[in-house]
Amino acid sequence: MRLTFLIMRRLFRTLSRDHRTVGLVVVGPPLFMVMFGIAFGGEIEHVPIAIINNDSDARVVIPYGNFTVFNETVSSLGDSITNTLDLDDPRVDVTHLTDYESAKKDVDNKKYACVVLIPVNFTYNLVSPLGSNISLEIYFDNSNPQVGGVVIQAIQESFQQATGEFRANLGFDVTYAYGEGISTLDFFTPGMIVYGVFFFSFMLVIMTLIEERRSGTLSLLLQCPYDKIEIILGYLAAFSIVSTIQTTLIILIAGLVFQVSLGVTIANYISLYIAAIIVGWTGLVLAIFLSAFARSEFQAVQFIPITIIPVLLLSGIVIPLSQIPEIIRWVSYLLPTTYSVNLLRQIAIEGYVLEPLNFGLLFQIGFVLMLVVASRLTLKEN
């Protein structure tokens, strides 16, 4: 028992002298809980959708022999549906449009999650016994099934509420812009590539660099007649190959074991690899930058709560951005991995081929360049 007590006392004494560890012990658990609470406690809200409402009030006349048993103007159900979605439902933000074809293009370009076309004489056809069957057209982006499910649910509820008993003639004709028949695994795999590549690049590089610092080899390298930038580029080059290998392994296992398809064409796969390599770069430059502020592997691990956890919770890997409360959503928009997840999903689910001027790509490259410059400043010779 004496040794047990001695060890306990020694541990408390050494830990209490490492201020960063004390900070982690005190601040870490509340920080974790707040991050999880905020991230998972939100609802999916304000998803932009478009509605084209061609319906109007209907004059409904029901004759019975020589008599008229019903002769009234029925208010437009289309207006009622639109108002319910527009004014009462926080899950969607409605934009009113008039041209269906141009609205479909907006869905293709990710401006809206869907466009709903309420046709001419919608109310008349539903309410009048003389009305014909009617099909409601929805053009739908299901590339994020978590968001898609909520949007479809909001639309269906508003139709049920407005049309009540007059639903016998109504059918839904859903056309998918993206993500038809997408499985949960199809959806999550691109995010897992981002998380896997980012996590391993970050951890491998920060550990390697701290070891280089501790052993003194980094100090020696900095005495060689080259610019520091070459050391950073050397790391970038080596870990690009590591990212490529990791991506290949994830693609192979996802495809062969779980039947996930991550691309159709060669151009898709090339885009996927380029995007994954850039994810690796973001983890790597962050690790190089932060390594200047850690003296040991133990201190490096302490960076996980401020790097790896926010990436997992706030990049849209598990929780859609529209579910993250607006008060902290700006953090998501600052994380390069938010753009990586978006890009990889576009490539894997929508068949997107990377373009040089893609905003997400440029944001990540900007992040990498900024941290390369910052790391050059923090790589101290002593």
């Binding site: 003194g216 020696l220 390298l221 060689c224 010779e381």
Partner: protein
């Protein structure tokens, strides 16, 4: 081209860490091809002096100057790096590279071409008796062999000037003697200037000149023989204690 009389010229050098004067008004000149040994106890300021000379640390602001091989340090430190060898106090090796791979890596990192790096590596391996260890991972080498590998890595570019910080620390007397014989050999054959630090006081006898440091100050500069004669002592350790006694009085 102007012939340099001194390879290292330090004037009025100061460095503080908090309130402690790690280097205190240091003036020093080292001639080309000379083996100069900075000797003194731990925390005397030897390593700080080397780090100031290499531009790793910045001196305090004031009227100080550092010139090495004619270059103004720290402004022209990158020019110096092509000509120099540096062995830090810690054995800086890549554990998962073999002894040969470590030496060759630093040869290339110092700017040697691939073919020159191979030739020089082989030559250093032979010269420092590393032949039978060259294919072993650094992590599996003994302390002495690791130190020899580190020295080979520092000197693989045949530097014109070498800064060796405690190169013999932790070595047995036989290996220490071998190291000093190597320093003498390259100073005589290649006219290499060597600044070496040690806290093994008796070892300083091997140097051409000795600078004795204590509390950041250079309290004596002389040849070992003259220092021992002036203090009437027969070895460097006794000379040091005699010097300190004189200082304290």
């Amino acid at each position: 081209m102007q012939l340099l009389k001194y390879d290292v010229e330090l004037r009025n050098l100061n460095k503080k860490f908090g309130s402690i004067n790690a280097v205190d008004n240091l003036d020093l000149k080292i001639k080309q091809g000379e083996i100069f040994c900075l000797v003194g106890p731990n925390a005397a300021g030897k390593t700080t002096t080397i780090k100031l000379i290499l531009g790793i640390l910045k001196p305090e602001k004031g009227d100080s100057s550092i010139r090495v091989k004619g270059y103004d340090i720290p402004a022209e430190k990158n020019k110096l790096r092509k000509l120099m060898g540096y062995l830090p106090q810690r054995k800086a090796l890549y554990d998962m590279l073999t002894a040969r791979e470590n030496i060759e890596f630093f040869a290339k990192a110092k700017g040697l071409s691939n073919s020159d790096a191979k030739i020089n590596t082989s030559s250093m391996i032979k010269r420092l008796s590393l032949t039978e260890h060259q294919q072993k991972l650094a992590v599996h080498l003994s302390g002495g062999t690791q130190q020899r590998t580190a020295l080979a890595s520092a000197m693989v570019n045949n530097p014109q000037i070498a800064f060796l910080d405690e190169p013999t620390v932790g070595l047995d007397p036989v290996l220490r003697r071998e190291f000093w014989e190597y320093f003498k050999q390259i100073a005589r054959s290649q006219n290499t200037t060597i600044l070496v630090t040690t806290h093994y006081l008796n070892e300083a006898e091997w140097a051409d000149r000795v600078g004795v440091m204590r509390d950041g100050k250079l309290i004596a500069i002389e040849t070992p023989q003259n220092l021992m004669e002036q203090t009437n002592q027969h070895n460097m350790e006794n000379m040091f204690f005699e010097l300190i006694k004189g200082e304290t009085q």
